[in-house]
């Protein structure tokens, strides 16, 4: 008779509790007693006693495991750590091909990630170093145009801030700050100036921003000079090794005829570069007290306000706006917002005059793409590592049989990952260091916080890399170390080794990303191309512009001299130039179509040659001509009597664009049109006076006789740009020796408007190349692996008469299938995202079907190219070789 047995689970539990070296005797004892009790008291009682016995086993002397007589070193002992590195480096060297694929992929991914992280961190660091950064706000004027339409403006009435200070206890201080570029020269007779970023502010700026005075004083100069505070770096540039305080420098005038002297009254510490108030010098200007009035004209400026710490801004804004509406007797559409200083750099799309700004959207796109790039690199790593697991499981099996623990195996594999990551980080940092400068050039500004200059950031980055490496390495390590040694050594691979599901998903994700980026590249390029090459309604080629100056009454003379330069066809003194806004003034008139609605029309003005110089096309009526009294003598009229001037302007002859004529319902020419507030004499074709970010504006053109403050447009014969440029310079020296000549090619200036798109396009081009390359690299690794793994299968197929093409197809099929899925996943996603992106442009390119076709074909071509290279090698290999071994 078989002896009765205790419940299995209790027996197992007892085995677990009991130390291995005591199991023989102790478990035997338990069973014997169980049999005894079973005989005496029956199954139930015996089971109950057995449970008590098992519980009683829980004592240290029984549970404590005997140390192995050979001693198992801890997985973290120093010897083992050294061993991991030794074995790890040997493995990496042995599989140098794979290591190279890993290294290339990871280095690129890490490098791109670091670069972009730098740009993002740098952008986010703007204006965060001022001590009162949380309490400084810029007053933004919101102009309610219509129901949902509002226009934001970075300037506000000059009188507002002092009024707020008077009325509200929350306001600590305020300052009107303006920034622009000026050219300074050390002696008045010097020719070239030093480009200087200048802030203009009153002395209260020192209460708002941290301005550290090193020498001199923050007081105004007593003399009648402008007083200037220069930064240390700037002083070192203009007066190297000298004390700049008390020195006098001169600006290059644009409007006045004489250089203005500036006295340097103080030397201050450098202002932070990562601030939207980036400057080399500060010009002190006494605040012009101007009362806030509720009727009449107010001048506007960029006002910064310092609130008491802890002020609730939403509450304060509400209070101010309620007060303002009351003050304006309810007939103002203006409201105010307080824009935190920290937001100004990234959230100032509306601020036209602000040079130092960035777009948060670009930062997001930039960061997103870089993260995806790193993701692809890590996916490559995981994919290749798990695919390679096939070759490693035998090693893992042997290690386990020789009493290696799982912890040791995981540590071994993690060490290999860390080694690879470590080397990649090294390469990436090296590349980063040397590409920092080109990237700064590309961005157009310096990067203040970089990984190679900031210890804290470097430490953070290293920690991030370490974590990424651990996360990436853990999965393959877990998989490889998880197999049962008996199975792996016998050659039985369970389904879990395939992990093909995960691997396939990752490959699809990878290729989807590359395809999306590629699609984005094409669409961004198309949009850029559209904006660059769109017909603007005037001839933008062969047009030169001289920027606005005051002509000192010599404009007409200069123009007639200019006409003599060979190559100059026509020229015009104009109060408007392409890229300088929609017009020199705008008016609101009643909409003839809808009673009660107002329309906005823009005016551009110049001498009578302006329309012809621009190359506008006449649709109806006539152009301006000297034979008619088209031009009024605006300057002298205005000086004499402003009311009279307005009247003359109202009755002036005008040209209007086709869209303006349609909007204002102008049927008849040469009669005074009330809505147009002028006498239209001709209709010209529509033209884009602004960038293509804006819809076409209805525009009227007026003529003035030789305006004093004007720019000049010069129409030249094709190919004579250099010649004319030289001629103009010579003429300029003769006419205005003290003035700075700022001369531009209009086409270049127009193209410059789309710099953001151009940069985005270049960026996408670069990133799409990288993502494609990395994806291809990953798939290449997988194909190499697949070919190796299926070498025997290929051999047998060949022996049985399979063709090379068939085998190539067999190996490639799997991967091509994945890429096709990726194309299907990526195309709608990309279409949606790009459609969203394009929505912000009034003139946008359409996304054609062929874009998707081309992208898909490209992705497929890359895949097939990569895969077939290895597949053909596998297919043409001698079957004897693969079948003979083992």
């Amino acid at each position: 008779m078989r002896p009765p047995l205790p419940p299995r689970w209790l027996d197992k539990l007892a085995t677990r509790i009991c130390a291995p070296h005591l199991r023989e005797e102790l478990l035997g004892d338990l069973h014997e007693r169980y049999a005894l009790r079973h005989r005496r008291a029956g199954t139930r009682k015996a089971n109950f006693f057995f449970l008590r016995e098992v519980a009683a086993l829980c004592r240290p002397s029984i549970m404590r495991r005997n140390p192995s007589p050979y001693g198992t070193p801890s997985a973290f002992s120093r010897d083992m750590l050294r061993n991991y590195f030794k074995i790890g480096s040997r493995v990496l060297l042995k599989n140098s091909g794979y290591s190279l694929i890993h290294l290339t992929g990871l280095s690129i991914g890490l490098w791109a990630c670091m670069m972009v992280a730098t740009v993002v961190i740098d952008s986010l660091s703007y204006d965060r170093q001022w001590s009162r950064k949380d309490d400084i706000y810029r007053i933004v004027t919101v102009n309610k145009m219509g129901k949902d339409l509002s226009e934001r403006n970075s300037s506000s009435p000059i009188g507002l801030a002092p009024e707020l200070e008077k009325n509200y206890a929350e306001v600590e201080s305020w300052s009107t700050v303006d920034s622009f570029e000026k050219y300074f020269k050390i002696r008045p007779e010097d020719n070239d100036g030093i480009s200087t970023n200048l802030l203009t502010a009153d002395t209260s700026i020192s209460r708002i921003l941290d301005i550290k005075l090193l020498a001199g004083s923050l007081k105004h100069s007593t003399q009648k000079h402008w007083s200037l505070l220069v930064t240390r770096a700037y002083a070192a540039r203009i007066f190297p090794g000298q004390d700049p305080v008390g020195k006098i420098i001169y600006d290059i005038p644009t409007f006045s005829s004489e250089p203005t002297p500036y006295e340097i009254t103080g030397l201050i510490d450098d202002l932070p570069y990562n601030s939207h108030l980036r400057a080399d010098a500060i010009r002190f200007q006494a605040a012009k007290p101007e009362p806030l009035v509720n009727d009449g004209i107010m001048s506007f400026g960029r006002n910064y306000i310092l609130l008491k710490h802890g002020t609730d801004v939403t509450q304060f804004t509400k209070k101010v706006n309620t007060w303002y509406t009351r003050f304006m007797k309810n007939n103002s559409r203006e409201q105010f917002e307080f824009q935190p200083l920290k937001d100004i750099y990234l959230h100032s799309d509306f601020a036209d005059g602000q040079e130092v700004k960035a777009n948060i959207r670009t930062i997001y796109i930039f960061g997103g793409v870089a993260l995806l790039l790193l993701f692809i690199a890590c996916v490559n790593f995981v994919n290749l590592s798990t695919a390679k697991a096939f070759a490693r499981v035998k090693e893992a099996g042997v290690r386990k049989v020789l009493s290696g623990s799982r912890t040791q195996l995981v540590m071994q594999l993690l060490t290999e990952t860390l080694l690879l990551f470590g080397i990649s980080v090294g390469i990436a940092v090296f590349a980063y260091f040397f590409t920092l400068h080109p990237v700064e050039n590309f961005l157009g500004h310096r990067l203040v916080l970089t990984f190679t200059s900031n210890i804290l950031m470097a430490g953070g980055a290293l920690l991030m890399f370490f974590l990424t490496a651990l996360l990436t390495g853990l999965y393959p390590a877990w998989v490889i170390s998880g197999f049962k040694p008996a199975n792996t050594l016998r050659g039985i691979f369970t389904a879990s080794l395939g992990q093909t599901g995960l691997r396939k998903t990752l490959v699809v994700a990878q290729f989807s990303i590359s395809i999306i980026v590629l699609l984005a590249t094409i669409v961004v390029w198309q949009q850029f191309d559209l904006m660059k090459n769109k017909e603007l309604g005037y001839d933008k080629n062969n047009l030169i512009g001289i920027e606005q100056i005051s002509w000192n009454g010599k404009g007409e003379a200069f123009k007639s001299e200019l006409q003599r330069i060979p190559g100059v066809m026509r020229s015009s003194l104009s109060m408007w130039m392409p890229t300088e806004g929609a017009g020199y003034m705008q008016r609101e008139v009643d909409d003839p179509a809808h009673a009660g609605r107002r329309l906005r029309v823009w005016y551009i003005a110049g001498d009578v040659d302006l329309p012809a110089t621009l190359g506008l096309k006449l649709v109806k009526g006539r152009m301006f001509s000297n034979r008619f009294a088209d031009a009024i003598n605006a300057d002298s009229l205005r000086e004499k009597d402003f009311v009279k001037f307005e009247k003359a302007q109202m009755n002036q002859n005008s040209l209007m664009t086709a869209s303006a004529a349609k909007m204002l319902r102008i049927k008849q020419l040469d009669v005074h049109a009330k809505d147009a507030q002028s006498v239209p004499v001709g209709v010209v074709g529509d033209f884009h006076n602004e960038s293509l970010y804006e819809p076409m504006k209805p525009t009227l053109i007026l003529a003035q006789k030789a305006p004093e403050y004007a720019s000049m447009l010069i129409r030249i014969q094709p190919g004579t740009e250099m010649q004319v440029g030289a001629g103009v310079r010579k003429l300029w020296k003769h006419f205005f020796p003290e003035k700075l000549l700022r001369i531009h090619n209009i086409e270049d200036k127009l193209a410059k408007q789309y710099e953001a798109e151009s940069k985005l396009h270049q960026l996408f081009l670069f990133f799409s190349g990288l993502t494609m390359f990395l994806s291809a690299l990953g798939i290449f690794g997988l194909v190499v692996q697949a070919a190796e793994q299926r070498a025997k299968e290929v051999g047998i197929r060949k022996v049985l008469g399979a063709s090379v093409a068939g085998i190539v197809g067999l190996i490639s099929k799997d991967f091509v299938k994945l890429v096709v899925i990726a194309i299907m996943v990526a195309s709608p996603l990309a279409w949606y995202a790009l459609q969203k992106w394009l929505e912000s442009y009034p003139y946008r390119t359409t996304i054609h079907w062929w874009v998707f076709a081309v992208t898909g074909a490209m992705a497929l071509a890359v895949t097939i190219g990569t895969v077939s290279f290895q597949a053909i090698r596998a297919a043409t290999a001698d079957p004897v070789r693969s079948l003979r071994n083992e």
Binding site: P3, E24, E25, D29, L30, E32, R33, A35, R52, S61
Partner: protein, 117 residues
């Protein structure tokens, strides 16, 4: 001799080994103690005591034969060493001398009487 070396339970186990010689092993000892004291004695407790006693040198052990009831596992048989015997003897001497010093009249005065227990 350090008296603290031998706990009460250990002493009983050591005595049981001596009494059951040569067939003393965990099960027989535990069963014996159970029937002597009428309380449940777990194998684990006995085993732990045996281990300690062997470590102290009072017992020696060797592996005996396997039986079917034990699932084919062998048992460990224990015998008292000479040193162990000496320790037992000393313990007994201490007790006896103490017992001898108790006078029956004193006992009965305290209302205690061990004579017929």
């Amino acid at each position: 001799m350090r008296r603290s070396d031998l706990g009460e339970f250990e002493e009983i186990v050591l005595l049981a080994v001596a009494a059951l010689a040569p067939g003393a092993y965990s099960v027989s000892i535990a069963e014996e103690l159970e029937s002597e004291t009428g309380q449940t004695v777990s194998t684990g407790a006995v085993h732990a005591a045996l281990q300690r006693l062997e470590q102290k040198g009072y017992l020696s052990s060797h592996l005996g034969e396997a039986t079917q009831e034990r699932g084919g596992r062998r048992k460990r048989l224990f015998t008292v060493t000479a040193y162990g015997g000496k320790v037992l003897h000393e313990a007994r001497t201490v007790r006896n001398s103490l017992w001898n010093r108790i006078t029956p009249s004193e006992l009965s005065k305290m209302g205690l009487d061990f004579s017929n227990s």
